[in-house]
């Protein structure tokens, strides 16, 4: 049942402060950062800046981007691409919200799990 589900329930939306982020470790895989913007939309990226692997979950969220805490690269929450002059891209993991709970796409979340 859980095994077949396309989406994994990772908890209620209100666990995420507006303009904040939380982490979602994946055993054997890449940790994921879950973000919430000022307008309430939820996004997920691999928790790893394309520049020097900084934990994006600890950055500042503004509009639909996050600024990496290590060297201030700005990463789009929508595409995972570095914005401005910087070049690089981090995987985006599809998420959806249903009845106040956040769901993350199983296949993308488990990408890279051996």
């Amino acid at each position: 049942m859980m095994v077949e589900a396309k989406w994994i329930d990772i908890g209620p939306v209100e666990q995420l402060p507006a303009l904040g982020a939380r982490t979602l470790p994946v055993q054997g895989g890449q940790e994921i950062a879950i973000f919430r913007t000022a307008t309430g939309s939820i996004h997920a990226l691999a928790n790893k800046c394309p520049h020097k692997d900084g934990p994006l979950s600890q950055g500042m969220v503004h509009d639909t981007s996050v600024t990496c805490p290590l060297h201030n690269w700005r990463i789009s929450l929508l595409t995972g691409e570095a914005l401005g002059e910087d070049k690089g891209c981090v995987p985006v993991i599809p998420v959806k919200v249903d009845a106040g709970r956040i769901y993350i796409e199983r296949v993308a979340a488990l990408a890279g799990v051996a």
Partner: protein, 835 residues
């Protein structure tokens, strides 16, 4: 269609047998509008029966709010009275709900047992209010806001006054709150999300709305999670998950609606969130159609009235053999609260490929934001001035190419449609001389032009000369246009001063002055009043604003953790591998065997990969995971140590030498003074990090001459110097003054720190600040002006009475615990419950 005729037929119309029988379940807005649309196309095609659960004729449900508020009576919101049913030969069965659909027999059964056959059935059951199943939700006095009965209950409750709690800060909840408030109840609105009406409004507009409602006497609590509704038989109060209790004589649940699908589900029609329909509004049974809030079309359910009209048109086209097809709706929202103008439409969640155009007019309380993607308008939020709402909505629905009017789009239809005047300069040139340019100071175009003719040749001289653009700054663009028109090639262009960041045209100094003058107390308020051009700032201005506000209003400022750099949010220093380093405070660099043991134990217990003595005479424990921070802090707290603030734009360390107590050269107790200075200044937030050192003699072993504030002890007292830096640009301190006693030295220290806190730009160390303002200025404020110095000291000590507390102890006690926990954890093929 050939169903048998067994109808209990009171209809006077002739030959119902020849007509198809249409039965409508739902006497609400959708059901009746569908019937009206069908009648207008072919009045004779169907014999129509409408079932309604409410014992009354069809009324305009969206006007219940004005009825509650006393702006309208029930009679005024009736859409179709009894004569409409009679004139059109419609049989109305009100107060008798349909309880079953027998699809094979093609008949419906009502609560009273009446069996009615149909050829076509239309389901228009609308939606049900969503009830949060908290303890106490069935108590008397807990109601929803859906129909006239609910309004009657609210009016009855309001007659005796008292407290009302509205759960839900969306459209419906706020309208209920407004009505109850006007009826004399003391109203508290509880909203789960941080922003009111977050689905329709962005943060900035939500903030303005909240301020206005609070001004009108409502209490608004956001991020309020209801735990329980209290009371024995009748409600007495509401308890939140954080323990807050609010008195209540009436609780209105207005958290949302869900499509009413039970009837359809029991009849085994295809139902997901709503009853699934195709573009002709036909359900999975070709004889059954559905329309309104109960349906799901192309994956979308709608809770607003406009889509309903569009669905009804498509339905009627199909049912009169001229199918047109419904393609879904773009929706717009207006709040029906008198005196508050608010409009939102489309998608305003932003994105990389979208562009925000924001205009704020603080003096009129206006916030406008339009979102453009490519050459199309895709969303709009308007607060305060919604006159152009329908124009934007029209552009949005018709997907018009707006590239030609892009520059002027935000100014609205009158401006953007002005034909040839699309270049902003020519639009300004076309204004008459008595047109007002600056609303704050009432300056006309003629006055600005006269000021420019009188010699003003840049923005600052216009501001100084005639006050235009000198207050809120929103007319800066207009003034610059006038400069450019009047001076032509002689205009040097925009100012050379550097604004705070790309979100604003104001400098740091302008922003700080405005925060004080206008008594701005929150980040959204600053952004609104000072016309920020982005919806929620950037990583550069947000921490600065947070600091300026806490410095200006120590007691009133509400900390915004999301506007802190990671180290200050986590109270530890992030390292390149994402772990943290932890530095406990050691007063004046003095430690004890017990403290050292606790540090050693903590380093072992949390598997620190390195312990390092810092340049500021402290011990830095490296490689701590964010989840372990609260426990290592608890261990260090238990040994009597507090946060060392090695992570903060704050007082870092006071470095000392051993001084006269041990050293044969020592002239004064430098360690003692260092400890006193550190105990006075620790925990204070500053524009940047701040280091102090006290050396016991001019040999200066504590390296006081490269600190933000250095003290060198001499036989006759203490020499204070400031503005040193050992960083990228080595800078020795400049002499400030000499103090004869410790007490006097501490007074100078407090005054200097406060002057730096109040006047330096965020992220300026003391060195560049001292160079910019000059030592003469600083001496003038600190040394020569004794009352001024004492006032600075007093303000500093007052701020310290608020801010000097150990953030580690607060976190150990559970504050902001989500920052140290994962939201959940995925293990392949299993998931742990959220933390």
């Amino acid at each position: 269609m050939n169903a048998p005729v067994t109808i209990d037929d009171k209809q006077e119309h002739a030959s119902p047998h020849e007509r198809e029988r249409l039965v409508v379940i739902g006497n609400g807005m959708a059901g009746c509008r569908a019937v009206e649309e069908i009648l207008s196309r072919d009045a004779d095609r169907y014999a129509i029966t409408i079932f309604g659960a409410e014992p009354r004729v069809n009324y305009d449900r969206i006007m219940l709010s004005p009825v509650l508020a006393g702006d309208k009576s029930f009679e005024e919101i009736i859409i179709n009275d009894q004569s409409w049913y009679d004139d059109n030969g419609i049989e109305l069965v009100s107060g008798d709900a349909v309880i079953a659909i027998k699809r094979e027999a093609r008949e419906v059964v009502s609560a009273s047992g009446r069996v009615t056959p149909y050829d076509r059935l239309l389901i228009a059951t609308g939606s049900d209010p969503f009830i949060i199943p908290v303890p106490g939700h069935k108590l008397s006095g807990v109601i929803t806001f859906r129909d006239l009965d609910d309004v009657d209950k609210m009016l009855t409750a309001a007659e005796t006054g008292g407290h009302a709690v509205v759960i839900g800060g969306g459209l419906l909840g706020l309208e209920a709150a407004h009505g109850l408030s006007l009826r004399g109840m003391k109203v508290t609105v509880l909203h789960l999300m941080p922003t009111l009406m977050e689905r329709q409004l962005d943060e900035a507009a939500g903030f303005l709305l909240r301020s206005e409602l609070e001004r009108r006497g409502q209490t608004i609590i956001t991020q309020a999670d209801t735990a329980e509704i209290m009371g024995d038989s009748h409600v007495t109060g509401v308890k939140l998950k954080d323990g807050t209790e609010i008195d209540a004589d009436l609780v209105v649940m207005a958290v949302g609606i869900k499509p009413s699908v039970n009837l359809a589900k029991t009849a085994e029609l295809e139902v997901e969130r709503g009853i699934v329909v195709d573009d002709d509004m036909v359900t999975s049974d070709p004889a059954i159609l559905a329309v309104g809030e109960c349906v799901q079309h192309r994956g979308a359910c709608y809770g607003l009235v406009a889509p309903l009209w569009e669905m009804c048109r498509a339905l009627a086209d199909f049912m009169t053999s001229d199918p047109s097809g419904y393609v879904g709706s773009v929706t717009a929202t207006k709040l029906k609260v008198s005196g508050i103008n608010l409009f939102s439409a489309g998608d305003f969640s932003g994105g990389d490929d979208t562009e925000d155009i924001v205009m704020r007019d603080a003096s009129r309380g206006v916030y406008k934001r339009v979102v453009v993607k490519g050459d199309r308008l895709i969303g709009a939020v308007l607060y305060g001035d919604t006159a152009d709402g329908s124009w934007y909505f029209d552009l949005l629905k018709r997907q018009e190419d707006i590239s030609d009017i892009r520059e002027a789009l935000i100014f609205g239809q009158a401006f953007a449609s002005g034909g040839a005047t699309l270049d902003p300069d020519s639009a300004v040139a076309a204004l008459s001389l008595d047109a007002e340019i600056c609303g704050c100071n009432g300056v006309t175009k003629g006055q600005v032009v006269a000021c420019i003719d009188g010699g003003a040749n840049d923005l600052d001289s216009v501001r100084a000369g005639c006050k235009a653009s000198a207050s809120c700054g929103s007319c800066t663009g207009l003034v610059e246009s006038l400069l450019s028109i009047s001076l032509g090639e002689d205009y040097g262009g925009a100012r050379t001063v550097t604004p705070m960041c790309q979100c604003t045209s104001f400098t740091h100094e302008d922003v700080r002055r405005n925060i004080l003058e206008k008594e701005l107390k929150s980040i959204p308020q600053v952004m609104q009043e000072l016309h920020w051009t982005t919806p929620d700032g950037c990583a550069s201005c947000r921490p600065a604003l947070n600091y300026y506000l806490l410095c200006a209003w120590p007691t009133e400022h509400e900390e915004d953790p999301q506007s802190r750099f990671v180290n200050e949010r986590m109270h530890a220093n992030i390292q390149k591998d994402g772990t943290y380093s932890v530095v406990p405070r050691m007063w004046g660099g003095i430690t004890t065997p017990n403290e050292l043991r606790a540090i050693a134990d903590a380093a072992d217990k949390y598997e620190a990969r390195l312990v390092k003595v810092t340049g500021g005479q402290r011990l830095d424990i490296f490689g701590i995971k964010k989840e372990d921070l609260p426990s290592i802090w608890a261990d260090l707290n238990a040994a009597g140590m507090v946060s060392g603030h090695a992570y903060g734009k704050a007082l870092r360390t006071v470095k000392t030498c051993v001084g006269s107590e041990w050293c044969r050269f020592g002239t004064q107790d430098s360690t003692g003074l260092g400890i006193k200075a550190e105990q006075m200044t620790w925990g204070s937030w500053m524009p940047h990090k701040f280091k102090i050192a006290v050396s016991g003699c001019p040999r200066n072993c504590a390296e006081a001459s490269i600190k933000d504030l250095g003290i060198i002890c001499v036989d006759s007292g203490y020499e204070l110097s400031v503005g040193g830096n050992g960083g990228i640009h080595l800078r020795g301190t400049d002499f400030l003054c000499k103090a004869e006693t410790e007490e006097a030295a501490l007074e100078y220290i407090a005054a200097f720190v406060q002057l730096y806190r109040e006047e330096a730009r965020y992220l300026d160390r003391t060195a560049p600040w001292v160079e910019r303002v000059g030592m003469d200025y600083i001496k003038g404020r600190i040394v020569e002006d004794e009352p001024g110095r004492k006032a600075l000291q007093e303000r500093f000590l007052f701020a310290q009475s608020v801010h000097q507390k150990d953030p580690w102890a607060e976190r150990v006690a559970g504050a902001e615990s989500h920052l140290h926990k994962h939201i959940a954890e995925i293990r392949p093929f299993a998931i742990l419950e959220p933390a």
